[in-house]
Amino acid sequence: MNISVSNITKSFQVDSGLSKEILNQLNLNLNFDDNNFISLIAPLGYGKSTLMKIIAGLIKPDKGKIIVNEKGSEKSLENVVYIPTESVSIPWLNVKKNIEFGISRDKLSDDKTNFIISLIGLEGYEDHIPHINSFGFRFRVALGRALYSNPELILIDESFNKLDSVTKEEIFLMLKNVIKQRGTKFLLATSNLLDALFLSDEVIFFSKDEGALQDYIKIEKKFSNINEMLQSDYFNQLFSKIQSKILLQSGYRIKDFSI
């Protein structure tokens, strides 16, 4: 599956008569034929969330379109789940009911629910109500609900910012396991370089402005944890490349990103 973001422009009305342009004729290519996990990297406020919502079909662009090609033919993008920054587990339902929420009875299956619960690492927590749990726990629940609908693509919008480093690492390993077992495709919008470099097969730096910076970096090497990645020569080379090629050219500064 190849998703082309073609000339997308989007503005929002911020006050009566005043509008703010969030995206300006943005062109991007998301190649999910070769990659399972792609990250979009830009500093906060650069329109990543807006672009994610446009890809998910939740909001319409003012101009431009999303073109999806699969096996040589154009198709419409359906069954894309958008996981927002904030927690979206339903606070009065237990884990199992959250994961099955909104699914018609004829499509419900205990085997599938149990498989997904084990996939997201919540075995034994089926009857647990997640309202008092950490953000990481609730992210797992949201991901479980997303996986139940067998999505073509899951969009994750800056969802890891609130996680501590230990939980983040657990979640990342869980995501890698989901990709391994289910082949699920993910698109992550983030301003965190390390998250993106650790998780992704490809990272895309982008700017909201027409003709501005856009660069694709293929991540060839995978690491079992973030520490291992940080200590590797590969990461140092990659980081130097990002600093010299991207940050210096773009006018972005390293402090624009979280690490």
Partner: protein
Amino acid sequence: MNSIKVKIVILILLTYLILFEFLFPANGLFPSISVILLSISELITDYNFLSNLASTVAAVYITVLVNYLIAKILLSVIGWIKSGKFSLGSEILLPITSIFRYIPFILIALLFLIWFPDFILDKYLIAILILLPQSLSEVFDKNNSDKASYFYFYKSLGLKDHQVMNKIIFRLIEPEILLSQLKNHSLIWSVVIVTEFIQRQEGIGGILFTVFKYQDISLLFTITLLISLLVFIAQKILNLVYNKVYFWK
């Protein structure tokens, strides 16, 4: 109640008993305990207190229920109108609810009473008129960004706008609507009693009018005591129910 509170209450009761039962029994300000007990029996036999109380209680809690239903219908309608993009209608409702804050509703209520002096539903209408804008503004003033996240997530999962609004968003807001009612609980009682008083209609306010007419201080004192106690107990019960039902809030 903890033991300190119980001790304080007992101390106040004992002080009251000594002061107004034995030392100053006929003072024209505070009735003695024995007179209060006699007044309770008089209220029940001569003033039909229980049936009047039932009328006032019905008005108070029907007002709460109607406010809740109006908010629910309003949100559903807004959800339907704004189908396709998330909005709790704040841009529509905030200006209206802000204006409401500057309108002297108590004077409008008085006008209403002059226009329709004998209308049986006056107390319901006036209580709703005064309290609904407050409830709505409290709900719509809240930051709704987390609700927008729910909306986008479940919509991307294929749920219809109205399903997301009714099954999730409204249920997330529901505690805030009821909490605003709970906060105004004693105010609703006051509004209903004052309306009954002015209209001289059935209800505690109606009894108060008669009591005022005859300047019966012991009855007035007894009614105030009973209603305060009732509102206090009702508030405690409602808080318990709220915490039980909305355990996740």
